[in-house]
């Protein structure tokens, strides 16, 4: 097990956003987290990254308890995060957005990795010196994924990565995810059911902060996950 989440909970004020969530992710496997709007998917990922302290439960990464670790420890421990809404460093250039991760993580062979990222998202190479904040929404999304890859994560956490991206690049991202799957674990939040089904080794369905269903990716159809996502 690369990541084990047990009995995780989270509040916003008095509102419960996560309630006893638990599941685990295998090394180099892909897990899809599904759920309707407001189900708590983003909250789950944010809690996982340490952007808000968990109010209960436990998170283990590679056997180490990271429940209370600060975000950068988790990042350096191998979590690469692509947040919903991109959240790139808008006043840094595209290049700096990538460099900053390469350098803070002291990755080996940074040049090769940089090339790999640019090959995956050519637009980043074209816009290397432009201000991150000036990019279009879809370009920023690509930058956000590229940035997460720049830490050579053990596990890539993606919060709706294809939101706002042109179809051809969605395909590219899907291909990339498929491609990355063997090399790192992936935790994917995705509204696009067909895609999720096609890549996921395992799935978790959230509803109102609880895990209402989970299973193998191959069983999604049989388990009627699609129905859980509609009313």
């Amino acid at each position: 097990m690369l990541l084990t989440i047990s009995n995780l909970s989270q509040h916003y004020g008095s509102a419960r956003a996560l309630d006893g969530v638990g599941f685990s992710v295998d090394k180099d496997s892909c897990t899809a987290v599904l759920g309707r709007n407001g189900a708590g998917k983003t909250t789950l990922l944010q809690t996982l990254m340490g952007l808000m302290p968990a109010t209960g439960g436990r998170i283990e990464l590679d056997g180490a308890d990271i429940t209370t670790a600060p975000p950068h420890r988790r990042a350096r421990g191998g979590l690469g995060y692509v947040p919903q809404g991109r959240e790139i460093f808008s006043d840094l250039s595209v290049g700096q957005n990538i460099e900053i991760v390469l350098r803070n993580h002291r990755v080996s062979e940074p040049d090769a990795l940089r090339d790999e990222i640019v090959t995956l998202f050519p637009v980043l190479g074209e816009m290397w010196h432009r201000r991150g904040g000036d990019l279009s929404g879809g370009q920023q999304q690509q930058l956000a994924i590229g940035r997460a890859l720049a830490s050579r994560p053990k596990m890539l956490i993606l919060d709706e990565p294809t939101e706002g991206i042109q179809p051809s690049i969605v395909q590219a991202i899907e291909d990339a995810i498929r491609d990355l799957k063997g090399r790192m674990a992936i935790l994917l939040v995705e509204q696009y059911y067909d895609f999720a089904r096609s890549v996921a080794d395992a799935y978790v369905v959230l509803d109102r902060g609880r895990v209402v269903k989970s299973g193998k990716g191959a069983d999604m159809e049989r388990d009627g996950v699609a129905d859980l996502l509609t009313v």
């Binding site: 509040h11 916003y12 302290p53 109010t55 947040p83 809404g85």
Partner: protein
């Protein structure tokens, strides 16, 4: 990641009512205890009555600032400007009236060697004239400055810093004796107000009560205004002005209206303040003073009128009390209080909800979970 605005947006109704009732109680108590009962065990000395009156004007000033900062999101680090304007205008009235009717020559004429006051002192012996100017001049200045800045979309810290600069400019000018407003000495030695000698027995309690009444009225009126659609519009401006413009609102006007209202309220506070302290000088225009006003509001909890009022009262009362009581230690105590509030209560004193204070008294109830940071 998008944290929701933690600013309270309208007043907590309970707290609002508590503050209003306390003010009302004071309005009854001050004239009673400071007047007929002043000699009794409960009685107020003129000193205390005067302090209460001064603090009331500070609270009014804080209220004025909260109107634009708490609700409109426009931070002014120069509200001392309007306060001082009100103060100077009433002081000009009192000096001129003393000169014209009482034959008391203002000091400034002596040491500047003037035989008459400059032309812009014309008419100040008349109270109605001065009163109108107290509303008009600060209003006009606020309007011109606000119009210019809001139209050029000067905002945020830029706006805050240039209001500070403006006030600072005013201070430098007023410190010059050549400007004709008493320079560094400012104005003091007032003899009468509204025909009553300044030293008359009822004057102190009268002024204090008047300040409290104005404060209460302003508090209620602003409360109503902020609960009205206008208040909501201001909040919307604070949260996302650009978005509001795309909904077809020319945000210039509501901002300007709130700004001018705030300026005029501050000026009224100043006009009530100066007769009670008996002196005004450009010191009120110092940046530190204006910053302190913002500190009152922030301490109380910006965005809630009762917070502003409470913040102003607490800090200025502490200051009055401690400077006399432990002159060496007061800055430490004041700073300590502020730091404790800042670190423990994210939104100022407003986080001390009356309900929460009562909570331990109610049994069988789980305390509300703490907000996640």
């Amino acid at each position: 990641m998008a944290k929701i605005q933690s600013d309270a947006r309208v007043d907590r109704p309970l707290l609002f009512r508590i503050v209003a009732i306390c003010l009302l109680a004071l309005i009854v108590a001050v004239p009673l205890l400071g007047g007929p009962l002043s000699g009794s065990a409960l009685g107020l000395t003129p000193y205390l009555a005067n302090i209460i009156g001064q603090i009331a004007t500070f609270a009014l000033l804080a209220l004025a600032l909260d109107l634009i900062w708490g609700f409109g999101g426009i931070l002014s680090l120069g509200h001392g400007l309007f306060f001082a304007m009100g103060g100077y205008l009433i002081a000009m009235h009192m000096l001129k009236a003393g000169y014209v009717y009482g034959g008391v020559t203002p000091d400034i004429m002596t040491f500047m060697g003037w035989t008459e006051l400059p032309a812009y002192w014309f008419g100040f012996e008349s109270f109605p004239y001065a009163f109108v100017l107290i509303l008009l001049v600060p209003g006009l200045v606020a309007f011109l400055y606000g119009w210019m800045s809001f139209r050029s979309r000067v905002s945020g810290v830029y706006f805050a810093i240039i209001t500070q600069a403006l006030t600072y400019v005013a201070m430098l000018l007023m410190y010059r004796n050549d400007t004709g407003f008493g320079g560094n000495n400012g104005m003091t030695g007032f003899s009468t107000l509204l025909g009553v000698p300044v030293g008359a027995p009822g004057m102190v309690t009268g002024l204090a009560t008047a300040s409290l009444v104005v404060l209460l009225l302003a508090f209620l009126a602003c409360g109503a205004l902020m609960r009205s659609p206008f208040g909501r519009l201001l909040i919307a401006i604070r949260d996302d002005e650009a978005r509001l413009r795309f909904l077809g609102y020319d945000t210039l006007w509501p901002k300007l209206a709130a700004w001018c209202l705030s300026g005029v309220l501050a000026a009224i506070a100043g006009a009530l303040y100066v007769p009670q302290v008996g002196i005004i000088n450009p010191r009120l225009l110092a940046p530190e003073v204006s910053i302190e006003i913002a500190v009152w509001v922030a301490l109380g909890g910006r965005g809630a009128l009762s917070g502003a009022v409470i913040g102003a009262i607490i800090i200025s009362a502490l200051k009055f009390w401690l400077t006399g009581f432990v002159p060496e230690a007061w800055p430490f105590i004041l700073a300590g209080v502020v730091l404790v509030v800042v670190t423990l209560l994210p939104n100022g004193l407003l986080d001390l909800k009356p309900q929460r204070l009562l909570a331990p008294l109610r049994r069988n109830r789980k305390p509300a979970p703490e907000p996640a940071e």
